[in-house]
C-alpha cells in the first residue's frame, strides 16, 4: 500500500530544503563565473532524434527531452556563457534513478571544450560540498567520497579493457557495451572518488565533436559519483553536415524499428554554422540532490514522483 502522502512529504522535507539550498549555491556559482541564466521552451515542435530517448507528445508537439538545441541556438546568436535549470521529460524512464519528468541543468562555455567543462564540474561540486557539508568529503550510502579535484579520468577504451576484457574501438557491440558498462565497468570505479569516463566510440558521439586520430574518438565525458551517472559533457559538434548525418541515421533507425517518425530539427541545424567552439554539459539535478541528501532513490528528493502525481 502507498505511504500516506503527508507522512511521506514530512519525511523528505529535510531533503527538499537541502535541494533548495543546492539551487542557491549553483546559481551563485554561475553568477560569479559570469554566466547568464536562461530559459528555453519546454513545449517544442522537434526534439533531437535519439534512438533510446522517447518524448511525450502533446498536440503533435513534444515535451522537451533536453534544452540542448535551444541553448545552442542562443550560443550561435552570440551568448557566450549560459546555464539553465529546467524540467525535461522522457517517456518510460522510471526507476530508482529515473523519473519521466526530471530536473536537468545544462551549461555551455564558448571557447571551452569537454575538459574545460569537466573543470567547471569539479569546482561546482566542490563548492556545493563546501557549502553543504563544510568540506570536500561527502558520505553517500555508507561510503566516504573525496571530491577534491582533479578527479580520476579513465578512457572508455582503458576502462573496458580493464574491467570487461574487450576494446569497444576495435569492434563496437553497442548492446554488449551497455550491459558491460552497467555490470562491469561502473562497479569497478573507485567508490571513494568521482570518476570521469571519457573519449567514446564514434558511434556513440551523439552531439559531440570528433577528435581525429587512430582511432578517432568522440569528445564526450561522463561523470560518475557514488555509482550515480551524474552528468554528460561534450565538446560540442558544430559541423552541420555531420550533425545532420547523425540525426538522419537515428531517424532511419527509429523508422525501421517502427518506433516513431521523427521530424528533423531544421532550425537547430541552421544555427550550427554559427555555433562557436564550445563545451557543454547536462547534469541531473535530482541525482545531484540524491548525492548531497544521501538518498538511495530519486523519490526521496522529489515531492511528487510519477506514481503519486
Amino acid at each position: 500500500m502507498a505511504e500516506d502522502e503527508s507522512l511521506r512529504l514530512s519525511r523528505i522535507k529535510a531533503n527538499l530544503e537541502r535541494r533548495a539550498l543546492i539551487y542557491d549555491v549553483i546559481r551563485a556559482f554561475f553568477r560569479s563565473e559570469g554566466f547568464l541564466e536562461v530559459e528555453t521552451p519546454l513545449l517544442v515542435p522537434t526534439v533531437a532524434p535519439e534512438k533510446y530517448i522517447t518524448p511525450f507528445t502533446v498536440n503533435g508537439w513534444f515535451l522537451s527531452t533536453s534544452p540542448e538545441m535551444h541553448m545552442k541556438r542562443l550560443l550561435a546568436a552570440g551568448y557566450s556563457k549560459i546555464f539553465q535549470i529546467c524540467h525535461s521529460f522522457r517517456k518510460s524512464e522510471r526507476g530508482q534513478l529515473h523519473n519521466p519528468e526530471f530536473t536537468m541543468m545544462e551549461w555551455y562555455r564558448v571557447g571551452s571544450d569537454y575538459m574545460g567543462i569537466m573543470q567547471d564540474t569539479e569546482w561546482l561540486i566542490c563548492t556545493l560540498a563546501n557549502k553543504l557539508c563544510s568540506g570536500s568529503t561527502i558520505r553517500y550510502q555508507g561510503k566516504n567520497i573525496d571530491l577534491t579535484p582533479t578527479w580520476p579520468r579513465v578512457t572508455v577504451r582503458d576502462a573496458f579493457l580493464r574491467s570487461a576484457g574487450w576494446d569497444p574501438f576495435t569492434r563496437l557491440d553497442e548492446e554488449r557495451f551497455e550491459v558491460d558498462l552497467v555490470e562491469k565497468v561502473i562497479p569497478s570505479f573507485d567508490a571513494g572518488r568521482p570518476t570521469v569516463l571519457l573519449d567514446y566510440p564514434v558511434a556513440m558521439a551523439s552531439l559531440a565533436r570528433l577528435r581525429p586520430g587512430s582511432p578517432p574518438v568522440a569528445e564526450r565525458a561522463e561523470v560518475f559519483i557514488g555509482g550515480l551517472e551524474l552528468a554528460n559533457a561534450y565538446s560540442e559538434l558544430n559541423d552541420a553536415a555531420e550533425q545532420e548525418k547523425r540525426f538522419k541515421q537515428e531517424i532511419e533507425t527509429l523508422k525501421r524499428e517502427g518506433k516513431r517518425s521523427v521530424v528533423m530539427p531544421e532550425k537547430f541545424l541552421e544555427c550550427l554554422p554559427d555555433l562557436p567552439e564550445c563545451g557543454g554539459i547536462a547534469l541531473g539535478i535530482d541525482r545531484l540532490a540524491m548525492l548531497f541528501c544521501d538518498a538511495a532513490s530519486i523519490d526521496e528528493v522529489i515531492a511528487f514522483p510519477w506514481d503519486v502525481v
Binding site: Y52, I53, S92, R94, G95, L97, E175, E178
Partner: protein, 188 residues
C-alpha cells in the same frame, strides 16, 4: 505487452509458464538502451529467477483472475473449493496449500488466482477463528513454557496457546505464522 509497461505484480508468460514480477530494477546508461532487471516468481511452482530485458522487448501478457472461493471438503489429498460466482468446483492438491491446509474450515472463503481455468495460488485470510476441540494435554512434554500449552483446534491442527485457554474457546489464529493471536470468545 512492452517491457516498459511491466511493473511489480505484473504477470506474463515465458514459454507458456506464468510468472509474477516481484521486483523491477530499471537501469539506463547515458544515451543507451534501458535495461530491466526483473525478479520473477514462477506461478506454477513458486520458484524465483532473475531475468534481464532490454527496452522494446515484448512479453506475453496473461490474464490471471482472482476469484472468491469457499472451502467445501477434503477428498483424499485434494481440497475442494467452490467458486462463489459460478459455483464451479475446483480440486486443489495438498502441496499447493502447504501449511495453509491446516486452517481450512468448511465455509472459509479464500482468494484464488486462476489462469485459464487452472488454479495458481490459494490465498487464505491472514486471520481465522477456530474453536478448541481438545484442551491441554497434561503431560509435561506438551508444555512449551510455564505459561503456554498445546491444544487441538477443530481443523485438527495443534497450536501453542496461553494456559488460560479452555476446550470450546474460539481463538483468533495468524495463518502466516501458525500462531495464537487472542481468545475471541470464552467457553460457549
Amino acid at each position: 505487452m512492452d517491457i516498459a509497461e511491466v511493473s511489480r505484480n505484473t504477470k506474463f508468460l515465458i514459454n507458456g509458464v506464468p510468472f509474477a514480477v516481484e521486483d523491477v530494477k530499471f537501469v539506463k546508461p547515458g544515451k543507451g538502451r534501458a535495461m530491466y532487471y526483473l525478479k520473477l516468481r514462477n506461478l506454477f511452482d513458486g520458484t524465483t529467477r532473475d531475468q534481464t530485458y532490454h527496452s522494446s522487448d515484448k512479453v506475453e501478457e496473461v490474464h490471471v483472475s482472482s476469484n472468491e472461493m469457499q472451502y467445501l471438503y477434503k477428498e483424499g489429498d485434494q481440497y475442494v473449493f467452490m467458486d462463489n460466482e459460478n459455483f464451479e468446483q475446483h480440486h486443489v492438491p495438498k502441496e499447493m496449500l502447504g501449511t495453509k491446509s491446516q486452517f481450512l474450515k468448511e465455509g472459509l472463503v479464500a482468494t484464488v488466482s486462476v489462469m485459464e481455468g487452472r488454479i495458481l495460488e490459494v490465498i487464505i485470510p491472514k486471520f481465522v477463528e477456530l474453536a478448541v476441540v481438545k484442551g491441554a494435554a497434561s503431560s509435561k512434554s506438551d508444555t512449551i513454557t510455564a505459561q503456554s500449552k498445546m491444544v487441538e483446534l477443530e481443523t485438527g491442527v495443534a497450536l501453542a496457546v496461553p494456559a488460560f485457554v479452555k476446550e470450546g474457546d474460539v481463538l483468533k489464529v495468524d495463518t502466516r505464522t501458525s500462531s495464537y493471536v487472542e481468545r475471541v470468545s470464552p467457553k460457549r
